[in-house]
Symmetry: C2
Subunit: 669 residues, 2 copies
């Protein structure tokens, strides 16, 4: 400390006190001191947005932060005041009774050495929670937790001055999970014709009038997962890996963490508008889940599905009666079995609540537009575009049928079919109040994880095709100018294309070093061969795909010259740079049979290829998320708001502002 | 062919005829048929922009395209017509005399098998060139080459309807060579404080009001180099790897390829405005070179330097008398030696032309603002920010002094110092006519190539600092609102950050697989430690750097927890994820001593690290460029033009439009 107090030009002095022991492992995210406030310092709020407050006082019993006393101070106090006004106790500020004191313990590892030695640090905690409060007046607030004889933790909160005027009737947010600018560039090259450096057609995304970048980092780590990042997009609050629309506290329960209201909840509560949730993932997965679930553990899939239908029931919260549309995979949380909530039949639970339930694309297309509709089309994640359209035999996997039987889910809709049907239902059911739709291309991410670049990029192309179809549909029904469209991602993977591969030459070389010489860089990358038909092969083969006119997908999935592509973090794997015709890749395996945390090259994943040893921890069997800012494309009444570079949480405030979701006064009880 | 002619829904049929044998190796880029026109089909032009036309007729003598005759048709004809008007011979259209017929041969390899077997294909060529022509009226033109008894090649050209009104007095284009959105994200995290997910400061780039993406692919390959991509940005014409502001023809000479006029040439010719060229590379490198050089081979460095001073002298072209400012490295093309053009002393050549010549930062800072100024500050590329500012001993490299002696170039300016001085000179010399300045952070690319992420990211931060200083300077002298600022890149590298590394843990493990377990992903990425001072280390050490207030560079270059970062294409190398204190990395070496095209891990590059075997051809000792679209940030009178997604050549048309560089009528002779 002494070093820095004399320096006027010191950078980062303010942080020093709280980060003396710079650590990647943290006792509790967003709580460097022994008193914790959630929402923490620097939190932003939409005026009138419901949230919970969690306070914790920590007494570390061992490790680098060890204190001399055995129990944390339970007599802490908590005040709130607007900038420049006198702070008052939170109970008085919010007109609440004092919540009860809770106590618990938790342990954590200070670093990898401690984890390897299995020497955790024990922390004893005293805490309280204030439930369902809101701040209505824009401005700065100071929340102060005072504990342990005068120690204090201060949280500076900002209620943003967001106009209350509604500018869009409808909002659609498309999320390409894990989608980066690099992937969009590669997908464009894979599917769009270029003549002498000029594209003859471009992506729907390329044609959006306004471009932005958003920063995806989490509250307490710079790499996010999809739970945390979806929560930021939907609530305006960054949180912690695995957390769905809550701040993660240290208590043992996954269901008592402090909640923040989501845009779906706000939109329903304020306007009674329609809500649609569409994903190609299992529907309890993080990106759809964060719209209605509030838990620190995204893996509580059964509870997530219950929250789609009933919202939050363990605490007073907004009155949630289910979305108009819920389409995706994940039947295992619906048919009665050990993975559905309390073993119940959620198809029946949804039917009991008035839902029409459809389990295949044929039924989806003929379903009424007037009912609330649940569409669950497969066990687990839905089939990929490449398998639904080109390598169709891969759909014949037993026990994927959404009814929970032994059958295969062969009649699955794609993202476009689901999204267009969702739009029809949302419009029919909400002609005046408008709708909010989240449509997720989930498997851009899932296929990047397993290094299946071809499948990832075609999922991205399906998203683009869905956007094109959505714009055409909205235009045809006269809703385009009423609808704010946003296309973004929740995080990236470190992917790029660096050249081409002569796969024939590669296959014929012996030895890994020789095989690498099949790669062409710079001028030898040549032109994309995915758009060139192969005159010697029959129409309809994977070397000569035929679509209807104007649809931009690759013409040839199995050209001799493929993309030399890859990610910057990977497990041990082999690469032959050809499309995997037998279904999604499995790059690494536990071949020793001894440990599920020690993965090696899966030889049969790319028999003719060569080995690239991993850089990831050996417990990783797949790639991981990355840091990069992700693009935001927008079109609609508020499109200009979405240009430039901003934080992921800003997407929420821009969307909420466009929909006029600020509340400057408390709602009538 | 037959398959497709019956299909009404066929995608890409139009290309089929010209790409029957889909090939990554090409006989000649942009010429799939046996008759070639440059500029080729799909070329765009600024009204009044000078260009050359090259025609070629090919007679392949062997290989897959073999023809039955021994010589190409020398009696080809060439016509041009505006859309809907009668085509006339080019000589009549441009009022030129018929150029002489030229003939030559060249060989190429059809694929890797042919290259391995050393069986080239021979092509005999007949050609002509039309020099220094222009199209003044916006619209579509059809150029037709007819040869060999009625075969024809058609080029559809578009002269864009660019307004002639000048909207900006000055234009500054900053080029972060190889800079991607991913790198900007990483640099921000390395240098800017974040509290609970909210940055307390951001990059200058983050604050630019308008964001776009540009596509960097080349004319005839989807991966570009910096020559080709710089040419696209400066001329509105994509070309071929290694080509500087020409289309590459097949003739043996590097100096007869068809030229296109650059924005620097246009700006000087039309307004007599000031031109500044600043780079941290050796100044003959591609990005600065493409502003005045016209050659198919960027490696002709001596000639490039001559072209800075005299422009093009081997053909009639624009009258070029040198830029107002030329600052960078590359003394080896200036002091008299075998690498300077004709062995001449180019310091003296520039002095003879009225230039003030400065060779270090001290002289630069005190130089007059009224003279044309040449500043050459080192042999080869200039020193990196990290070495100039933190690891200063690395400047002590003999024979780097710009005078060609044995000394070290220890008094080098950075990009900021060069750019600010350039602005002062440009303003002083061009108070009425304004200026065009290109300022390049060249070593973002150069350090990414050698996997030296720390140096690459600090070069990027220096660029950002330069942008901030430029905006402040322009504001202080009242020129900010007159100046269009563009910040972009010429291509990317497939870089990203995926987590953190406990470098202490890594160093203490034995065995590569154990070392990989030092990597933390997702929640274990934690927070950036580059911004956290180390209380146990002295101020001024590389763990506690102190700058003046408001300057955003890392506080600690050697934290225990570093970024887990990497690229998606790499040679064999080792990673220890720590800053390289001895200067730029050397990831791979020719350790066998037998071949300069067989590179292996350089052990001493990262002694405590682990091996990652390469995926690149074994002849590659460093990483390569990638496909990704790159960002364009803009601010100024025409900023709105630069939003959305577009081709790299569009940057030229947007800049030229903003400066009003269209000529609708021929200039007076």
């Amino acid at each position: 400390m002494k070093f820095f107090s004399t320096l006027s030009s010191c950078v980062a002095c303010g942080l020093l006190a709280s980060q003396v022991a710079a650590q990647t492992f943290q006792r509790l995210g967003a709580c460097p001191k022994l008193g914790c406030i959630f929402p923490p310092d620097q939190a932003d709020f939409l005026p009138g947005q419901w949230f919970d407050i969690r306070l914790e006082v920590h007494a570390p019993q061992n490790g680098s932060e060890r204190v001399s006393y055995a129990q944390p101070d339970g007599n802490f106090t908590f005040t709130i005041g607007r900038d420049g006004q006198r702070a008052v106790p939170a109970t008085q500020f919010f007109n609440l009774t004092e919540p009860r004191l809770e106590t618990w313990n938790f342990t954590w590892y200070e670093d990898l050495f401690a984890r390897a030695a299995r020497t955790p640090s024990l922390v004893r905690v005293a805490g309280k929670a204030y439930r369902k409060v809101a701040l209505y007046e824009p401005g700065n607030y100071v929340a102060t937790l005072t504990y342990q004889n005068g120690s204090s933790t201060v949280a500076n909160w900002t209620v943003r001055d967001i106009p209350t005027q509604r500018r869009a009737k409808n909002t659609i947010i498309f999320i390409g999970d894990g989608m980066t600018t690099n992937m969009i560039t590669a997908a464009r090259l894979m599917a769009h014709q270029m003549i002498n450096g000029k594209y003859q057609t471009t992506m729907a995304m390329d044609q959006m009038p306004v471009l932005g970048h958003q920063m995806t980092h989490s509250l307490d780590s710079f790499i996010t997962d999809s739970a945390n990042s979806a929560s930021a997009l939907y609530t305006g609050h960054k949180s912690t890996v695995n957390a769905l629309s809550v701040y993660r506290d240290s208590s043992p329960s996954n269901f008592d963490d402090p909640k923040v209201e989501t845009i779906a909840e706000l939109f329903r509560e304020i306007y009674g508008g329609g809500v649609g949730i569409v994903s190609t993932a299992f529907i309890a997965d993080a990106t759809p889940a964060a719209l209605t679930a509030h838990t620190s553990q995204r893996g509580r899939y059964g509870e997530v599905v219950d929250s789609f239908l009933r919202g939050i029931t363990n605490y007073t919260w907004v009155n949630w009666t289910g979305p108009d549309v819920l389409f995706g995979g994940g039947a295992e949380q619906f048919y009665p079995n050990s993975r559905s909530f309390q073993g119940r039949d959620y198809y029946q639970e949804f039917r009991n609540a008035g839902y029409n339930v459809v389990l295949n694309n044929t039924s989806l297309q003929t379903a009424s537009n007037s009912s609330k509709t649940l569409g669950i089309f497969s066990v687990s994640n839905m089939a990929k575009w490449l398998d639904r359209n080109i390598y169709k035999n891969n759909l014949n996997i037993s026990r994927t049928a959404p009814n929970g039987g032994n059958g295969s889910a062969t009649d699955q809709p794609g993202l476009k079919e689901m999204t267009l049907k969702a739009l029809q239902i949302l419009r029919a059911r909400n002609p005046q109040n408008g709708f909010f739709l989240m449509s997720e291309a989930a498997s851009v991410d899932k296929m990047m994880h397993v290094l299946d670049y071809d499948r990832a990029l075609t999922e991205l192309l399906e998203l683009d095709d869905t956007i094109k179809a959505t714009i055409n549909y909205l235009r045809s029904v006269g809703e385009l100018n009423n609808t704010q469209i946003i296309i973004t991602a929740d995080h990236g993977h470190g992917f790029d294309v660096m050249g081409s591969v002569d796969t024939r030459y590669l296959a014929q070389q012996t030895g890994d070093r020789n095989k690498r010489n099949a790669i062409g860089i710079y001028e030898e990358s040549g032109l994309s061969q995915y758009v060139v038909p192969n005159a010697s092969m029959p129409i309809g083969s994977d070397q000569n795909v035929v679509y209807s006119q104007g649809v931009n997908f690759p013409t040839n999935f199995d050209p001799r010259y493929t993309f030399y592509q890859g990610v910057a973090a990977f497990p041990d794997h082999r690469e032959d740079y050809t499309v995997n015709k037998r279904g999604p890749r499995v790059p690494a395996l536990n071949i020793t049979g001894f440990s599920s945390t020690d993965y090696y090259v899966n030889y049969i994943d790319a028999v003719t290829g060569f080995v690239i040893n991993g850089s990831l921890p050996v417990a990783a069997d797949q790639g991981v998320h990355s840091l990069t800012d992700v693009p935001v494309f927008s079109q609609g009444p508020c499109q200009a708001d979405f240009g430039g570079v901003y934080n992921s949480i800003d997407v929420f405030y821009k969307m909420a502002g466009c929909l006029g979701l600020s509340r400057r006064t408390p709602p009538r009880p």
